[in-house]
Every structure is written in C-alpha cells, then in structure tokens.
C-alpha cells in the first residue's frame, strides 16, 4: 500500500474521489500552505541573516560554519518551496462508517487510522491564513492522541465535524 509511486491513484472522479475512494484536498489548500511557508521562510531568513551578519562581530566564525548555515538554510528553503505541491498531491482522507483514514506526508508518508468509536472530541479550527482561503482543519481527539484533517473547505470541515459528532453521540446514547 505504501510503495507509493505517484500514479493514477490520485486521479479524481466526478465525485471528487480517488479510485480507492479517498478525498483529496481542494486546490486552494496549496495557496494556504505556500503563504504559511513563505512566512516561515521570512522568519527563518531574518534569523539566518542576524546570525550571519552579527556573529562575526563577536567571534571569528570559521568559514565552514557559515557554509553549513547557508546549506541548511538552502535545504529548508527548497523544502518549503517544494513541500506544498508534494503535500497536496499525496494528501488523502476517507471517512467511513467505522474509521477515519488519513494518508499524508512529504518525505515520510504516514497512514493514520482512527476508529470512530475512539473519538472523544471534535474541533473545527481556522487560522488567519486558512481563513483567507476559506479553509479549516478538523482536529480529532482520542484518549490516546490527536489526529487532524487539514485544509478542508469550511462547509466540508463543518459537515465532517457534525456528522462525526452525531455518530459519536449516537454510540454513547446506545451505550447508556
């Protein structure tokens, strides 16, 4: 399953589903990721500039240190630039009657399965960047940890949270 070559499995049919029944993210999510990454890169650039420009005033920094710093900076910059496209292409999620299934990742691809029976709490959250793109994240809390479905269109996020919430409430009601 995870021999993961990018292929037809990411093609989306008219219902917005991949061949194996997964949802993919909306194209708008890439914009949100890029803006987030651009802000991160700007902050990182300032930090690197400050280190690069001012450290030599207090200490004679060997050339190799500067080279390492710039190499690390360049690698992170490339990662932030390429990451969103790969993340978008690989992100898939599926909500069945019994489980929430999320596949995502850039270098390390993870496949998370949360049995719906284990869900304790649901939260729909929107940061300022996601708000700009009318996107939201659904955070799923279990007793043992947290999983999230990110960059969903707001109505989709709310529908997912509502339906999961109703399902969990129903499970609890049946148990009483």
């Amino acid at each position: 399953m995870m021999r993961g070559k990018m292929s037809d499995e990411f093609k989306v049919d008219e219902n917005g589903l991949t061949t194996d029944g997964y949802h993919v993210l909306t194209k708008r999510s890439v914009g949100s990721m890029y803006i987030g990454n651009a802000i991160a890169l700007a902050v990182l650039s300032v930090i690197v500039y400050v280190i690069y420009a001012y450290s030599s005033q207090f200490y004679e920094v060997p050339g190799i240190y500067k080279a390492l710093l710039l190499t690390a900076y360049a690698l992170i910059a490339v990662y932030l630039a390429v990451g969103p496209a790969v993340y978008y292409a690989r992100y898939r999620y599926r909500i069945d009657e019994d489980r929430i299934d999320i596949r995502k990742g850039i270098l390390v691809i993870s496949h998370t399965v949360v049995p719906i029976e284990r869900v304790h709490q649901l939260e729909v959250a929107r940061g300022p960047i996601n708000n700009l793109f009318r996107l939201a994240d659904v955070t799923i809390t279990t007793a043992g940890g947290i999983a999230s479905i990110q960059y969903l269109e707001i109505p989709v996020a709310e529908e997912i949270a509502d339906s999961l919430n109703a399902y969990v409430t129903e499970i609890l009601r049946k148990r009483e």
């Binding site: 998370t112 284990r118 007793a143 043992g144």
Partner: protein
C-alpha cells in the same frame, strides 16, 4: 516463588467494613489543615530566609534593623491566612457516596461540586507519608479513566485510617464488585516473593543504561580529578555531584519506593503495595490495563534479569506529587522464568502464543542508511568541535593532541556503535500478532517487549520514509492511554501491509462486536 502461602484471595471473603449509606456525609481529617499550614510555613520560611540574607547586603541601616521584624510579620501572616483558608475549606468540604457516583461539595466563596461515577474510576490508591503515619491517617487518591488528568489524581482526600479503609472497601465493592477489602491486604500472600536483595538489585539495575553509564563515568572522572595532582578538585566535585543526582539518587529513591513490595490478584482486581517511608497501596481492574511490558536495560540483561510493568491510565498519579512518571510495577527485577510466571498469574489476559517475526532482510537497508546519515552528522559535529578547539588553542594553550585523540576515538566509537546497533537491531527487533493481542519487541540496548490488546488501541499510524518505502517497509506508531496520559509505542521496520493489519483488526473487532466496551468499564 509463585503462589506461595496458603490463602487465595477470593471474592467470598467477608466484608469487614460497614456499608456507607447514600446520606452519610464525610469530612476529611483535620490533619489536612495542618498539612496545608506546614507546607505554607516551609515555603514562607525559605523565601523569608533569602529575603533576610539579601537585606544583610543592603547598605541602609533601616533595612538591617527591621528586616527580621518584617520577615516575622510576613511569616505569621502567611501561616495565619493559610490556616484560616485551609480550615474554611476543610470545614466546608463534604463527601458523599451515592449508589452510582460519589460527590465532593465545597461550599466556600468559590463553590465547587465534583461528581465522579464509580464506573469512570480507574483506580483508588492509598498513600501514607510520615505525617499520615504520625497522625494515623491515609491519603486516598482517586483516579479517573482519563488521559487529561493522568498526572494528578482527580481527588486527594485525607481521612483517618479506619475511615479511609472503610471508604476504599466500599469503593472497591462498587467499582469491582468484589469483597476484597484493604484490611485483607496484610494477610493476603504476595503472588511473588520479593526479598530486600531483589528490591536493592531492582533499584541498582533498573535505571536506563544511558544514565547508569553516565553516572558511573562521572563518578570515576570525579574521583580521578580529586585525587590526582593534575586534576581540578572543584570540577571533580561537580562530576561526583552529577553522578550522585543522575544515578545514586534515583537508585535510593527506587529502593525506598519498592521496599516491602507485594502484589496479588483477587478476582479481576490487582492489588499492589510497597514503600519504606511513604507506603503505597494501589488497586486497579485488569480491564484497565492497556499494555503489559517486560523490560530489561543492558546491564541487568547481562545477568538475565527482567522487570514487568503495566500501562494503566491514572496510575502514575497514585504515587503522589513526586514521581508521576512510573507505570505500576507488576514484578521487580527477576529472572525471565519468574517474570513469565508472574505474568501468567497476574495478567493471564496478556499471555498468548505468538510467533514473533524478525525484521525482514530488506530492513537492513533503511537501518544502515539511517546509521550512515547519523554517522555523518556525528562526524561533522565532532569535526566542528575539534575545529572550535583549534581556534581556542592559541588563546588557552590546550594540548591539541589529546583533544584530537579524544574526538577521533569518540567519533569512531559512535559510528561503530551506530552500525553495531543496526546489525543487532535486524536480529533483535520483532513483531508478532495474535487473535486479540499483538507484541512489539524493540531496543538493542534497553530492551522492551510490549504486549497490547487491539481493543485498547486509540490510533494507529504506519509511517514509511524515503529509505524504507522503496522496499515496502514501514514503522508503526500505536497510541494508547497510559499511566502518564497517553503514550506512543513504535515498532521496527516491517512490511507495511503487515503493520496496516493492526489498524484493520482494531476496526474489524469494533465492527463485528468482538470489542465490547462493557468489558473495559
């Protein structure tokens, strides 16, 4: 020795404590007020002591003249206010035990009502410190089945020992449905005999290998620095202090903690008691165990010693405020045979026949690629360290040949260690699946065999990195409720589809009804 002693604790044991009617109201023992006052007095005395010291340095004569009076007044005020608040809270806090839930009501300015259903309680534990022993009281700690409050018990109630035992017996009856009561604890034989030597060995050997090696190295380095002419006495003292706090203190704490260790099972409930100065009495239902772990750091493994512990939500909190990272110990360091017999006697639910699989041959590739990457990182860090020392040499006159030899030796050792770890890991790390349980064996140095029930898995994540994916391999992260809230348990590299089977089984068991939540209430 297993199952020694004659009397088997059974549910037929007659209850020795009077039933608590729903309308009976309890207030805590007045020592609760004394405890609060004592704590406040110690903190206040400490702070005011430093205040006085700082005043002595002040130039103003007035500060010198009045600082003692100011401190005394502040001390008395703090102690007085604390006593008044603590008394008020104690007097106006009542506890009732209803048919299905217990209620704590505090009628002060900040009103509070805590209602806890017996079905939600994970464990009730008794903790007796020096103050409790002197005043013949017990601190009853009630933990609910929640990861959010795993670090602190939901309720800490102080009662006279008899009242506390009566309450615990009633709670035990309501929660577990058995009649085993605290009064039976002294008479019930332990399922395994733990001698004083066992406890001392456990204290000495159960520390993680890293901190043991660090402590020993620091100790010898400190001695060397202090007794040789070229050494520096002050840095020797620092090294010995480091050894003391990183190894000696945890060892002594562990020995005191697990002194007089005793464990037995009555029906579905496990009872554990231990402690030298402060005594601990824990009880929890077997159904509340999320995982059972046999572990052995490297040094005890050389003499074939292992220990057994369990992940039970909320149990970390039972140890009080000073040691909330411990999962309940089911057996201190013993030989493997004894550990397995204790496991069969105490938690047979976690014993099963399983064929453990080693990591596949292809796993060597991601393992060695990781080792190579880490070796490069380590070598680069060592080079940078050496380079920095060269730059400092002109100023400090450090003997570079020694530095170079040390850096090269440490780097070479680290690289060799990483690759040896890789080779060993291929042979050691295992994974096995049974009908309702599965097991991960990890750890080349500090080994851990964790057996988990599918029904306790909260979330499963299978991760494949760029070096493992081409070979169809992945690692699995299982999220469980644990003694410290939640915990992730990771596997080694295995076929991704085999690891995916764990989450498939978890979901399948829920779907077809093999998972029954009532069993775990």
């Amino acid at each position: 020795m297993i199952g020694e002693g004659g009397r088997e604790p059974t549910s037929e044991a007659p209850p020795r404590f009077e039933r608590i009617p729903a309308d009976e109201e309890f207030i805590q023992h007045p020592v609760k007020v004394a405890e609060a006052v004592l704590q406040a007095a110690i903190v206040a005395a400490f702070m005011l002591f430093w205040f006085n010291i700082s005043m002595m340095d002040a130039d103003e004569a007035i500060a010198e003249k009045y600082s003692l009076y100011i401190s005394l007044a502040a001390f008395l005020s703090i102690v007085g206010i604390t006593a008044w608040v603590a008394y008020w809270r104690w007097r106006r806090t009542t506890i009732r035990f209803g048919e299905t839930e217990m209620t704590v009501f505090r009628d002060t300015v900040f009103k509070k009502q805590i209602r806890i259903a017996y079905s939600k309680i994970a464990s009730t534990n008794v903790n007796r410190g020096i103050v409790n022993r002197v005043t013949n009281t017990s601190r009853l700690m009630i933990n609910i089945n929640s990861s959010v409050n795993a670090f602190a018990p939901e309720l800490k109630l102080t009662f006279g020992t008899e009242v506390s035992d009566r309450i615990r017996a009633n709670l035990s009856q309501k929660m577990y449905g058995n009649n085993v009561i605290p009064a039976d604890e002294s008479g019930t034989p332990s399922i395994v005999t733990i001698t004083k030597t066992d406890v001392i060995l456990h204290g000495l050997l159960s520390q993680p290998t890293g901190s043991a090696i660090f402590g020993i190295l620091m100790f010898f380095f400190g001695i060397y620095q202090m007794i040789t002419a070229t050494g520096d006495f002050a840095s020797g003292m620092v090294a010995i202090l480091l050894a003391f706090f990183s190894y000696a203190v945890p060892v002594v704490a562990m020995i005191f903690h697990y002194f007089n260790y005793k464990i037995y099972r009555a029906g579905d409930t496990i009872y554990i008691s231990h402690g030298f100065v402060r005594t601990y009495h824990k009880s929890f239902k077997v159904s509340k165990i999320n995982a059972v772990r046999i572990s052995s750091p490297m040094i005890p493994r050389l003499i074939k010693r292992y220990m057994l512990d369990a992940e039970v939500v909320g149990l970390a909190a039972s140890d009080g405020d000073n040691s909330n990272k411990r999962s309940p110990l089911l057996c201190p360091m013993k030989d493997r045979g004894t550990i397995e017999r204790v496991m069969s006697a105490i938690v047979p639910e976690f014993v099963y026949e399983v064929e453990m699989k080693n990591q596949p041959r292809e796993a060597a590739k991601p393992i060695f690629i990781r080792a190579a990457i880490w070796s490069l990182v380590f070598a680069a860090a060592a080079y940078l360290f050496y380079d920095t020392m060269v730059n400092m040499q002109s100023a400090e006159g450090i003997a570079m040949e020694y530095i170079a030899a040390a850096v090269i030796s440490v780097s070479a050792l680290a690289v060799v260690g990483l690759f040896v770890n890789g080779v060993m890991s291929r042979r050691i790390v295992q994974y096995g699946r049974g009908e309702d349980k599965f097991t991960f064996l990890v750890g080349v140095v500090d080994r851990k065999i964790t057996t988990m029930s599918y029904d306790k898995v909260q979330m499963a994540e299978v991760e494949g990195g760029p070096f493992s994916r081409p070979y169809g391999l992945a690692r699995c992260k299982i999220s469980l409720l644990s003694s410290i809230g939640s915990q992730n348990i990771r596997s080694g590299y295995f076929d991704s589809e085999e690891l995916e089977a764990i989450s498939e089984e978890v979901v399948a068991r829920i779907k077809d009804g093999r998972y029954d939540h009532k069993i775990y209430l």
